[in-house]
Subunit: 208 residues, 6 copies
Amino acid sequence: MSIPSLLMFSLLFVTSSASDHDFCVADLSQPDTPSGFACKDVKKVTAQDFLFRLGTPENMNNTFKYAITLASAVEFPGTNGLRLSMARLDIAPSGVFPMHTHRGANEILFVESGTMTVGFISSDNTVYSKTLNKWDIFVFPQGLLHFLVNSGKVTAIAVASFSSSRPGLQFLDSALFSNSLPSEVVEATTLLDPKEVEKLKGVFGGSG
Amino acid sequence: MSIPSLLMFSLLFVTSSASDHDFCVADLSQPDTPSGFACKDVKKVTAQDFLFRLGTPENMNNTFKYAITLASAVEFPGTNGLRLSMARLDIAPSGVFPMHTHRGANEILFVESGTMTVGFISSDNTVYSKTLNKWDIFVFPQGLLHFLVNSGKVTAIAVASFSSSRPGLQFLDSALFSNSLPSEVVEATTLLDPKEVEKLKGVFGGSG
Amino acid sequence: MSIPSLLMFSLLFVTSSASDHDFCVADLSQPDTPSGFACKDVKKVTAQDFLFRLGTPENMNNTFKYAITLASAVEFPGTNGLRLSMARLDIAPSGVFPMHTHRGANEILFVESGTMTVGFISSDNTVYSKTLNKWDIFVFPQGLLHFLVNSGKVTAIAVASFSSSRPGLQFLDSALFSNSLPSEVVEATTLLDPKEVEKLKGVFGGSG
Amino acid sequence: MSIPSLLMFSLLFVTSSASDHDFCVADLSQPDTPSGFACKDVKKVTAQDFLFRLGTPENMNNTFKYAITLASAVEFPGTNGLRLSMARLDIAPSGVFPMHTHRGANEILFVESGTMTVGFISSDNTVYSKTLNKWDIFVFPQGLLHFLVNSGKVTAIAVASFSSSRPGLQFLDSALFSNSLPSEVVEATTLLDPKEVEKLKGVFGGSG
Amino acid sequence: MSIPSLLMFSLLFVTSSASDHDFCVADLSQPDTPSGFACKDVKKVTAQDFLFRLGTPENMNNTFKYAITLASAVEFPGTNGLRLSMARLDIAPSGVFPMHTHRGANEILFVESGTMTVGFISSDNTVYSKTLNKWDIFVFPQGLLHFLVNSGKVTAIAVASFSSSRPGLQFLDSALFSNSLPSEVVEATTLLDPKEVEKLKGVFGGSG
Amino acid sequence: MSIPSLLMFSLLFVTSSASDHDFCVADLSQPDTPSGFACKDVKKVTAQDFLFRLGTPENMNNTFKYAITLASAVEFPGTNGLRLSMARLDIAPSGVFPMHTHRGANEILFVESGTMTVGFISSDNTVYSKTLNKWDIFVFPQGLLHFLVNSGKVTAIAVASFSSSRPGLQFLDSALFSNSLPSEVVEATTLLDPKEVEKLKGVFGGSG
């Protein structure tokens, strides 16, 4: 088969004109929209935009003895618009990842090391809970309260995958006790004791 | 349990880094996109952005004796991107809300006061119609012709919810008779009599 | 214009063959799917399937002094697959609608009567709160903790619209305290005091 | 390179276990769902399921002198769930495809032969209209009234593509005049003259 | 019926305030987003924005003897955000449209003239193939390898419809052989012979 | 606070009536639909349904020296309808995971151990490639050809997350060479040499 080079150019021209929007790497300096951030100019996109390192996390010297390393569209712009993102969770021995929800994503957790007891609570208040070890994966449906407890003797590490590039993360305690939400509203809408609310507002820095 | 304040800061820092895009209040001065308006800077968003008052409507001194108060993303930017919006409908005695469609949303109508006979027509030309009173709700599937008739003796008021922050609203008469659509096209594609078309073009301000 | 009746039949035959799936009223006796319930035979669908009465609610003699009347796809099959549903909320004087989330829907609340102070907490723990009166509408974004407090002197009534025919509803207290979730897990993942957990498990019927 | 046949079998086994749901050909004997019909057993699917012939249409001896050949999920089960379908339109000289909407799909029309003047009317009542010839394509956004007029001297034929496997089709005249919708409702909600309504009910077979 | 002109103005004002976002014609000078390009100012939109001519294609003097005329959002901004676009394919006698995929869309092909043998390969490696003539339409599910062969004696022409305004187009040969993908990677991940890779890199302009 | 037990029952009754469809575990014995498999009866769902073990894979004694352990909706029914699934990939030293696509999902790869060089090719034939080590994650956009090469000295293991519970998997070689696709079609649409096609059909078990 003879393929004159002139014809080849014709072929190549045609194929490249269809090449837009295989991806939309976030340009965080441009406006955000309901579907995600505006796209970085494709001519400036490199392989580096699709790589993120879930490396050594910050220390776990907080109340609950955990660390979280987020890789959603803000931290990892290559996930923008892809309906997918990740996070790394580290939990020290006797630590927990506290009760929380993701408003915008389902989650599958992959246990990389250690042992953790995890669970979620459904709308009819059923508890679905399991103890997981390395290679186990577990589903947390969108928007339901869930938790992770390190039930082993070493640091437990997991990689969470989310069905959104911006899953959201609402910690129950921070939502209730770290802001100006009036104590009487917290008390009336949760039945928590005023002293308990006062104590936890102290822990989490809330006022009001 | 002892919780040194230093550790608390670590906790709080972590929780706030996950806080983007719980919502996307419309910034109407920025570009519109297929998924909605670009988002207002979250630091400038206040509770006021999520509040709208469906208060006293404009008068109902028009041909059909109705008033509509829209609360879609343009009027109520807090709904932008949320796949949800509202409108208030007032219909004076012997008035109607004329035949229309919403190109982009299903609708549930809540009757706040009065009595109205409503209905929609399906693709196979079946009429689904009911007379509604206060506390009744009724479904109008997306894109189908529907209507509301005040069948009581007082002004009837309803609140419509839509499955889009921009449901669209096409009034049949305005679409046919208030613009430059040539009369012969209207006549040929609807079989309406030329005199009828001329009369209604007069009523609705159409030319051509 | 002469229109022989034979030709008319031809026209009608053509138009009716396009008439499927304007809606998908739930047939609760058939399987559920990720997109909703299987559809009721369209030949059995009547206008009644699109009507629901948010009438007099059950009594409000519970701890929080509220009542909820749901109109999602299970209770109101006409909303199945339409990305829209409703609920009526009644709150007695000094009552509240307790802290909760909807895993699957944004919400717009319409205040039908009375006065209520409502609010939601965003992922970065900001509180967005307003006091509402009749004709006010307020947005609660999907999956975030929110609450309603009757801040008037009479029963307050609202109609909530959701961006899903099955929005889900998770009450914070019921999720934590009405089931077999071990008390030590609740305590470790929320920092609530063991005595507080014990007390609320008593109130909400939890074990473990 | 040597590739023992034993190893090959291992390879093949692995590749075939990932093979579900590239498509979901409709099994019309099974239940319909909000996302479309249940799928035909993939083992019974053949290439024939993906082929449809938009061949010679029925005659155009109706009032408007057009014929439509539908290829949506009901007629062409291979499109089920694919968010795409087609239809063929034939319009005789001096004929039209009457005023109509598609509740569930955007449309692009490809003119295969002849000349037609087409247009749609937007929500703000602007008319977007063009005269098209062979190889022209034209967009009709979802849910808006639109029409086609044969403005040439021979039969005009077009192929319409829709952004849904079930776009819906509501003819304006059939919706208003071919059913039991009470004449006084038609009159009040459209301002059409009672005599005009009576005449068109006669043409389209309506009662009431 | 008397309709004072003052009342008419009230009617018209009301109807026009609902008129946003029936469509979102791409403004290619503004940012791209995950949901598509930002919208052209609606006041500058004309009927011309919704028209595209799939006219005479470029010559077919390339290796495979085909031409493609794209009408996706980049070439035809009126399709932006509409989940629908088109392309025209011309294949000379003894030519083919080479093996390729569309990452973002299902396709229905309409054969406008000539005869072509087309097919796709499913995830379980089944071949679904048919020979098509004028008026035949054929479905290619999203993301699967497919091909078209002119199996007649004259140029074959088809119009492809896609379920996205930006379907993407990846030619197998161009992906493997027209870039800097190292030959040893191509060889190891496809088992192609080094000489074959070298030859095709020569044809398609690849290096490495 | 006194909370009579009678009132408590009222509260609990109300909360449980909202509890449907937090998830839709696949019931593989029921029909498949475009949105996924019909749901298992929620009363039979247990925590076990949300757990999967990506344990020791099958051997890697195949041509490419890899193994894949799938956890999509068919293997892991708890992911059904959740727009999320996983797979484990093992690649022996000097092995590769061959050139392939996922028709229905974006992917993020997490490297659990070893070193691998991965890459994808965009529609404009640009190669985006990186060498990854433990804790690195990398994005592969939907439907684009991509590959993984073990570029270290030990077995490399990765966990892939997909933005669909049924991502699909099409191996390039299997698609071209393991079925009855006629050799002349392969040759014409890829320009591969007939001898090369014959050789690879031998390797992958193709006929024709």
